[in-house]
């Protein structure tokens, strides 16, 4: 029996708006109550064209596969051999992205260093400087050179295995950083030369250079200070990947780190995370095109990040032309971030495991994005490092499984021809054919 009103007229079913969804309405109520935008951690949560929209074709009569356990599929990568006396040699093409001490606890940074080193890869500092925990436990450490220059000093610079000049981050192309007072412990404050407990902003632009001509001189200065020993990376957000890659290479970068909009952040305005930047899938081909146009593909390495989760993602990124990838969020999840075992505590914070993103508040039940001594103690850096190592190994095995199926004896030999797309959008962005066709939107030679 359908519901009726008092006059016997049938009621229509209550219908939620596709425009004013419960999520949107809760955003409006929050804004009305506080008068300030919502800040959160993590990357874009909206559905985007992604690596999930691509498939490998595998071997067939015309392509023969490699034997899983017998025939080698190499995974090593060298970064920065163009100018550096000591390029970075990695066993696997999956690196740990820059995440700041301050956003993350000391033990979390240590765990990242341990896991990455055990897996034969590098880890990266972040806004807030280099900690002894991290340097001590990372066999290869990339030192970020950020607009804020918190904790920046030449001694640490010379301890680095590579330098990464950060121009932008995928979660917030054109945005600076922020660290709210709850997380400015005495140690964090001291490293940043700031009073404790204040809400702290990081600049969005470098204080002593603007534009590619200056960047070239800045790179020269950093090379002179470090005696041309270590590679210099330039990290840019996925915004104008063709031109940004071109300009980074022309400025003298040894490697370009390109971060798509799914890329995580420690704390940024939600509106920024969800509405500025390009999806990771869309930025690879233009960047690779730029490198090819300059004759620099495989000479200047392309390191891709933003929502990389599995060996399949790694293989797809590499097939599209990346030399390596970087992971942030996935590494934190491997350490224990958003683990359902803390569900009761997530509930107490008004959220649920898998959705917790108030990393800026410093109350992380998993003890990773916090400076609270009791919470921090929940993460055992040795165990965390072991978990990260396992995860990196699995990703590598997965990528190798796919590469062998495609008949490739090195992950770098994967190519766009190994891929098809499931959607028109993904076909256009990745420039690989829609599955079952030989066509993608924008394919050269297509007549409309």
């Amino acid at each position: 029996m359908t519901a009726q009103d008092s006059k016997g007229i049938p009621l229509t079913t209550p219908r939620l708006s596709a425009t004013f969804t419960p999520d949107v309405n809760s955003d409006i109520r929050r804004a009305a109550a506080t008068g300030i935008y919502d800040i959160r951690g993590g990357g874009a949560k909206r559905k985007l064209p992604s690596f999930d929209d691509l498939l490998f074709m595998g071997a067939s009569i015309s392509r023969y596969p490699l034997e899983g356990y017998r025939e080698k599929c190499e995974t090593s990568v060298t970064i920065g051999a163009l100018n550096a006396e000591n390029p970075i040699e990695l066993d696997i093409p999956i690196t740990i992205a820059g995440m700041s001490f301050g956003a993350l606890s000391g033990p979390a940074k240590e765990a990242l260093g341990r896991g990455a080193s055990a897996a034969g890869t590098s880890t990266t500092t972040g806004d807030g400087g280099m900690t002894p925990e991290e340097r001590g436990h990372s066999s290869k450490l990339v030192y970020q050179y950020l607009p804020s220059r918190y904790g920046m000093n030449p001694d640490d610079l010379r301890k680095a295995d590579a330098i990464e000049i950060v121009v932008g981050q995928g979660a917030k192309p054109g945005g600076g950083g922020m660290l709210l007072g709850q997380k400015i412990s005495d140690r964090v404050a001291e490293m940043r030369t700031l009073p404790g407990g204040i809400d702290q902003r990081s600049a969005c632009r470098h204080p002593d250079w603007t534009g590619p001509d200056d960047l070239e001189i800045k790179i020269l200065e950093l090379r002179e200070i470090t005696g041309w020993k270590v590679p210099i990376y330039v990290k840019v957000a996925g915004a104008r990947p063709y031109y940004d890659t071109t300009l980074a290479v022309k400025s003298g970068a040894d490697a370009v780190v390109l971060d798509g909009m799914q890329g995580g952040t420690a704390a940024t305005q939600d509106v920024f995370i969800e509405h500025v930047g390009l999806p990771t899938l869309a930025i690879i081909r233009p960047a690779v095109q730029a490198l090819q146009d300059l004759g620099m593909h495989r000479k200047v390495q392309l390191i891709l990040s933003g929502g990389i989760r599995s060996g399949a993602d790694v293989a797809k990124a590499m097939a599209l032309g990346a030399d390596a990838v970087a992971i942030g969020t996935a590494a934190l999840i491997a350490l224990g971030d958003n683990d359902p075992k803390w569900e009761a505590e997530y509930n107490a914070l008004g959220t649920t495991a898998g959705a917790y993103d108030d990393w800026h508040e410093g109350r992380d039940p998993a003890g990773i994005t916090t400076q609270d001594p009791d919470l921090m103690a929940r993460l055992d850096p040795v165990e965390g490092g072991r978990r990260l190592r396992n995860y990196l190994k699995v990703m590598t095995l997965e990528a190798q499984t796919i590469a062998r199926a495609c008949g490739k004896n090195h992950l770098h030999n994967l190519e766009p021809e190994d891929l098809v797309a499931l959607t028109m959008e993904a076909a256009a962005m990745a420039r690989v054919p829609l599955a079952g066709t030989d066509w993608y939107p924008g394919k050269p030679g297509t007549t409309y």
Partner: protein, 227 residues
Amino acid sequence: MQTLDLQDVGLRTVNATLHAQSEQTNQTAWEVTNPRGAHAIACGLDAPIEVSVKGSTGYYCGGMNQQATIHIEGSAGPGTGENIMSGKIVIEGDASQYLGATGHGGLIVVKGNASSRCGISMKGVDIVVQGNIGHMSAFMGQSGNLVVCGDAGDALGDSCYEARFFVRGKVKSLGADCVQKEMRPEHLELLTSLLEAAGIDADPTEFTRYGSARTLYHFDVDNAGAY
């Protein structure tokens, strides 16, 4: 005195030679001739040596300096003494933009004027300018002292934290959250010692002190327009 002719030996040799000097070096006096506006001269030094650069320099001369004393006998390009940690840089002429950007320590003295964004994001460096400074100076200054014997341009000390500013002449405008402050005896004492260290003869009592009102230290919706 050891001489390095930059046009002759090239930048790499100049810097590598200066970097090779250790704490105990006997060769403490160096001159770099023919700089001709080259970039990154004498950056990353880390020894108690004295380096005279005989002419004008390009970007980042003395960048990240530790311990060394660098004399620029000319004018200095953008970002001179950026992120200086310790030691001293003296510029006989004028300094371009971003002088001493993010400097963590040490002293920079300018005998002429300094351009815009002087002391941007300073984190402990002391900067003494005999002439005037340009706009947006000491933007986001965190710590250290900026002394200006002449005038300051627009938006001095915008969004500053705990850096202190002493200006003898006029300030065209103060930046967000930067206010005039009382000159107490301890500030006069500090200013006297800074002027003395800089070798500049000026009366500390003629200066006005500025610094952070600290109203932007915590996000507050009523200040949103100022961020």
